[in-house]
């Protein structure tokens, strides 16, 4: 049984980020991190998305950092928690 890190986040895409494939780029770079989209709303100027990230902790944190690098605002919903799975 492998320890998995899970982190619930709200992602906000604005300033043109909503028109760029930021998530696709991240999934390509971090194929071992699971992106579970729970809800999303995208409008002309802004998009928000609720995502449950899971995987090895350093990889999840790497994916979040990469999203931030691309200009996506990442707000953890709660503190990240370790679960077994």
């Amino acid at each position: 049984m492998t320890a998995k890190y899970k982190c619930k986040c709200w992602l906000t895409f604005e300033g043109g980020r909503q028109n760029e494939p930021c998530l696709w780029k991240t999934t390509t770079k971090f194929p071992d991190v699971s992106f579970d989209i729970r809800q999303a709303s995208v409008q002309q100027d802004i998009g928000v998305m609720a995502v449950l990230f899971s995987g090895e902790q350093d990889r999840v944190e790497g994916a979040l950092a990469y999203l931030r690098e691309q200009g996506v605002k990442v707000d953890p919903v709660e503190g990240g928690d370790l679960v077994t799975g």
Partner: protein, 423 residues
């Protein structure tokens, strides 16, 4: 008797047991306390409420506690003032001020939400309570925790006004200043609640905490003689108050305690931190988070937790929003003080300044009833008013000099008084 049914996700409707919880597991939407209104019918009446204590606990059947109230026994039931002098100044017919600058014990509306959250924290057997705060909440958590004998940790932005810091420290909490703005503090508090298993009132007790804000709305309706104002102007920070005043009005309508006059809600924000007002004015229901830059620090929340719901409820009620510049905020603080004798903090100035804009633009009709929600006391933030007034004249203790001064200043409006200073 408790009328609580469950916690319910505001997005997908998923139900959860009554427990410390912030969001839904499915879609991360906020959860809210759901009550059994059918069971309340005939039991929660105007008479049952009127026979309760002169505090927010007269509405305890509509609050999410199981046992007896354990905090804030003298909080709430603040004055609703018919502000005739201010109404004349603004050219409106019927204007009310709901004055939580007089709330007990820490002079802001936060004493309402903390009274409920602390009671719930005790029911859940937490030994430590805490909060992320722009000042007023820290005061209230510290004071209520001291009175209840519970350990308190308050986390605040590092650049908060000195008066607000002292106003917390006097109650003996552990205080931590966090480098960053309120949103940074709030994010850290989410992790603290998770790691230390503390009751962070506006994080893991948020569903219970926010219900306390309903009492602001219940009181408006009861004190207005069991009717609703047609227009209610509410300051928006994290977005707790407006949806809960809305919910309070709806609950009274559902229970048949007031008539549904289709009340409209208006969001008031400072121009230096107005994500919600901006979204409403742009006709979108998604707001863009902002970096706050305003003197109204107690409402400077750039990424409001319940901002989305504020936008939807304002639109649903056919209300609107406004934003006020810093000088307009200060002018409104002075206007309220000099017409009604109420000294509010910049958040209250923001609300009044926005109400004035909404009246002048015709969004709020001049001949209908208006309630302006004042949520904090100006004595906590006197430093922001520095430089706003002419200096008082200094004279020798001689009647002739006094006579001269009286002639010069007696008929001059107070704000523009510029008398000569005599040695």
């Amino acid at each position: 008797m408790s009328f609580i049914k469950s916690l319910r996700c505001k997005e997908c409707g998923a139900q959860y047991p009554v427990e410390p919880r912030t969001v839904c597991d499915n879609d991360f939407g906020p959860v809210e306390v759901e009550f059994d209104y059918e069971a309340m019918r005939g039991k929660v009446t105007r008479q049952s409420i009127e026979s309760g204590p002169r505090s927010l606990w007269r509405y305890r059947d509509l609050l999410p506690i199981d046992g007896e109230p354990r905090a804030g026994l003298r909080s709430g039931f603040t004055p609703l003032i018919k502000a005739d002098r201010l109404a004349r100044e603004l050219g409106v017919k019927e204007l009310y001020i709901k004055d939580d600058s007089a709330n007990y014990p820490t002079f802001s509306y936060k004493d309402r939400v903390v009274a409920v959250a602390l009671t719930k924290a005790i029911e859940f057997n937490f030994d430590t309570v805490g909060c992320a705060s722009t000042g007023n909440l820290a005061h209230s958590v510290a004071a209520h925790a001291a009175a209840a004998g519970i350990r308190a940790f308050v986390m605040i932005p590092h650049d908060l006004e000195e008066g607000k810091i002292i106003g917390s420290l006097v109650f003996g909490p552990r205080m931590v200043k966090i480098r960053g703005n309120y949103d940074d503090v709030n994010r850290l508090c989410s992790q603290i609640a998770d790691k230390y298993n503390w009751a962070i009132v506006n994080v893991n007790l948020r569903p219970f905490y926010t219900e306390g804000a309903k009492t602001h709305g219940f009181e408006i309706a009861e004190q207005l003689g069991w009717q609703l104002p047609q227009h209610t102007v509410v300051p928006v920070a994290g977005g707790t108050l407006l949806p809960k005043v809305y919910k309070a009005y709806r609950e009274f309508i559902t229970l048949g305690l007031v008539e549904d006059n289709k009340p409209r809600f208006y969001a008031a924000q400072a121009a230096g931190c107005n994500p919600v007002s901006q979204a409403i004015e742009q006709g979108t229901n998604l707001f863009k988070p902002q970096k706050p830059n305003t003197i109204a620090k107690s409402i400077a929340i750039g990424n409001p937790a319940d901002g989305y719901y504020v936008i939807n409820l304002v639109n649903e009620s056919q209300g609107y929003s406004a934003s006020a510049q810093d000088q307009e905020i200060l002018d409104a603080v002075k206007l309220l003080a000099q017409t009604e004798g109420i000294f509010t903090e910049p958040a209250g100035g923001t609300t009044l300044a926005c109400a004035i804009k909404l009246i002048e633009s015709g969004r709020i009709p001049r001949d209908e009833s208006i309630c302006v929600c004042i949520t904090g006391n100006g004595l906590k933030t006197v430093e922001v008013m520095q430089g706003q007034f002419a200096k008082a004249p200094v004279i020798n203790a001689k009647m002739t000099e006094f006579d001269q001064i009286v002639e010069q200043i007696a008929e001059t409006p107070p704000q523009t008084t510029q008398p000569p200073v005599k040695a």
